[in-house]
């Protein structure tokens, strides 16, 4: 039996120790993450001269964001991010589900394929972007191979063409992260009890039927995780665009994203003379913050409700 007085003194020591133990992590986290983020949100309501906050300006930064000359950039980038998200949902998370299902049906070799498929995901997007830029460049391997196979004639300019460039970047991003849905779906599939699949097989269900009618509804938590992660990642997309197409999202802004536009506004690369517009940058940041947090919360709720309990 611990004496009550000793117990309360232990509590007091623990309170003191807890503060001391938490303080270093909290200080670093608060100073370099929470404080700058809060200041950025607050600053988007002010008028800026260079890097100096001048006076309260209400929503004027936000209204400037939607009109000329910023409007075209904003809507363009918003569309590219949205297309990117749906492209990734189909080409990465959709095809990834097929790969995971094929691996789930096979006992042999699953670990090997998973390791190969996931490998590009541990590489820096800078390396992935630089590699594919070299492969897809005019005179590169892709051009040589397509010409050799008779599928294409002459110089390959998919990255310089404003109709194809964005889709090439989405494909490179899907190549980069394909291993993620494969790993998350196979982990999800293995959690489903084998008896369910056995029963379905006895009832005569084929592989495709089992995937669509049985596995898919039970994979809702995995699908939710992937959709949310893909949403956050695509709306933060910057590295691949910067390395492959430059910070302007060439050609003629056709691969521009919200974060590359934010970077140009904040660090002076927008327009021919390189003007920084901190007020506009912070307003864009606040808007993106709202899109990301509201979108994430809505997705988490949506998938939470659709989780099937057995």
């Amino acid at each position: 039996m611990v004496h009550p007085r000793r117990k309360s003194s232990l509590r007091r020591t623990q309170q003191r120790m807890a503060v001391l133990f938490i303080l270093p992590a909290l200080a670093v986290y608060a100073l370099f993450v929470l404080y700058p983020l809060a200041m950025s949100l607050w600053g988007s309501f002010f008028l800026w001269k260079g890097l100096r906050m001048v006076e309260f300006a209400g929503l004027s930064n936000f209204s400037r964001l939607f009109v000329f000359p910023s409007g075209a950039r904003l809507y363009g980038a918003l569309w590219h991010n949205t297309a990117w998200f749906f492209g990734i949902m189909v080409f990465q998370n959709g095809i990834g589900l097929l790969f995971a299902w094929l691996l789930f049906l096979r006992d042999k070799g699953a670990a090997f394929f998973q390791s190969v498929f996931f490998f590009p995901a541990v590489l820096s997007p800078v390396i992935v972007g630089a590699l594919w830029r070299l492969l897809l460049a005019p005179g590169g391997v892709a051009e040589w191979a397509l010409n050799g196979l008779g599928l294409h004639q002459g110089s390959l300019t998919v990255l310089g063409n404003s109709y194809t460039a964005l889709w090439m970047l989405i494909a490179v991003d899907a190549w980069n992260w394909m291993g993620l849905p494969v790993l998350i779906y196979t982990a999800g599939l293995r959690q489903i009890s084998g008896q369910i699949f056995e029963a379905a097989k006895l009832d005569g269900a084929g592989d495709a039927r089992m995937l669509l009618s049985i596995a898919l509804p039970l994979l809702m938590p995995a699908i939710g995780t992937l959709t949310t992660l893909s949403f956050i990642n695509t709306f933060n997309q910057f590295d691949i665009v910067y390395v492959m197409q430059g910070v302007q999202g060439n050609p003629s802004y056709s691969t521009d994203t919200l974060v590359t536009y934010f970077y140009r506004l904040a660090f002076g690369a927008e327009g021919a003379v390189g003007i920084t517009d901190i007020g506009l940058a912070l307003a864009l940041g606040t808007m993106l913050f709202l899109i990301l947090s509201i979108g994430t919360l809505m997705m988490l709720r949506f998938f939470d409700r659709r989780t099937v309990q057995l």
């Binding site: 938490i22 993450v33 094929l102 800078v126 998350i184 992660l229 910057f238 660090f267």
Partner: protein
């Protein structure tokens, strides 16, 4: 007769039915490995040879491109910088996060939930959007063009995930563990570092692996905080090379190979832990 047909069908068809599936898997394996194979063989070729001989092995395994990348393009210095930043951020993140997670998961403070929630919010926060204010802060603290500055920022970004992982692992340890040590007169610092932390080694390795990958690969923060060539990290240097040495393909391929070498080695050694960590948590980027 019909029994024979049936048994034959059962003997052959399952294997045959598996064939399209295997084909799909092998095609994607090739799609992943072929670009990496081209990257590796191109490192040993001159630019002229790269144009002449796309897929074949190089004429000789000359290390000229590697030497040029390491010295002429100063990738050696960038490599050392990346190692310092990655090592520093991993150690700092593990130490402070384990310290914070210990009382939050094992003491009854009354405010554990709120504090954990504050840390967890950081997993989702889009920190890049704070980069303007972060830049001003770093300038005022004299942390621009500084590896220490990068270490602090990366640790701050990785702390939420690390606290989350450590708290989850520490919570399930039996409470007799620290109570017995406390009876023996051990201090809280000793209980954490000599008793609790060795018990949660899987958590330490998850945090170390994913922090190391994220920090080694990051390019955004060096891009805005580092201007002096002496302090550039590998991804930042690579992004410059791609434009600067665009005619010297062999050198660019070699520098890509150098920059992915540490991650490749780590991946070969730890593929299983990485697969399981991602499959379980999903929270990687």
């Amino acid at each position: 007769m019909s029994a024979l047909v049936n048994s034959q069908r059962f003997a052959i068809s399952p294997r045959l039915a598996r064939l399209p599936g295997w084909t799909v898997l092998v095609v994607w394996t090739a799609a992943v490995l072929l670009p990496l194979y081209i990257l590796v063989v191109s490192c040993f070729k001159t630019t002229a040879e790269i144009y002449d001989n796309r897929l074949g092995l190089p004429k000789s395994f000359a290390f000229d491109n590697f030497v040029n990348a390491w010295t002429r393009a100063h990738l050696g210095q960038n490599f050392v910088n990346s190692l310092i930043v990655t090592g520093g951020a991993v150690v700092l993140t593990i130490v402070v996060s384990a310290m914070a997670a210990y009382p939050l998961s094992r003491y009854r403070l009354g405010w554990n939930g709120i504090m954990l929630g504050l840390f967890l919010a950081g997993i989702m926060l889009p920190i890049r959007l704070a980069s303007v204010e972060l830049f001003t802060l770093m300038r005022n603290l004299d942390l621009l063009d500084s590896l220490t500055g990068l270490i602090l920022v990366y640790s701050a970004i990785r702390i939420p995930f690390a606290v989350f992982i450590f708290a989850n692992f520490m919570r399930v340890l039996p409470s007799e563990l620290d109570e017995a040590a406390r009876m023996d007169g051990a201090g809280e610092v000793r209980i954490l570092f000599q008793i609790i932390l060795p018990m949660v080694k899987p958590a330490v390795s998850i945090v170390a692996i994913f922090t190391a990958i994220a920090v080694w690969n990051d390019f955004f923060f060096p891009l805005i905080f580092i201007f002096d060539d002496r302090y550039k990290t590998v991804p930042l240097a690579i992004s410059v090379f791609v434009g600067q040495f665009r005619t010297d393909w062999g050198l660019v391929f070699a520098s890509l190979a150098i920059s992915m070498a540490p991650i490749l080695i780590m991946y070969c050694l730890l593929a299983r832990q990485i697969r399981e960590g991602v499959g379980a948590g999903g929270g990687m980027k």
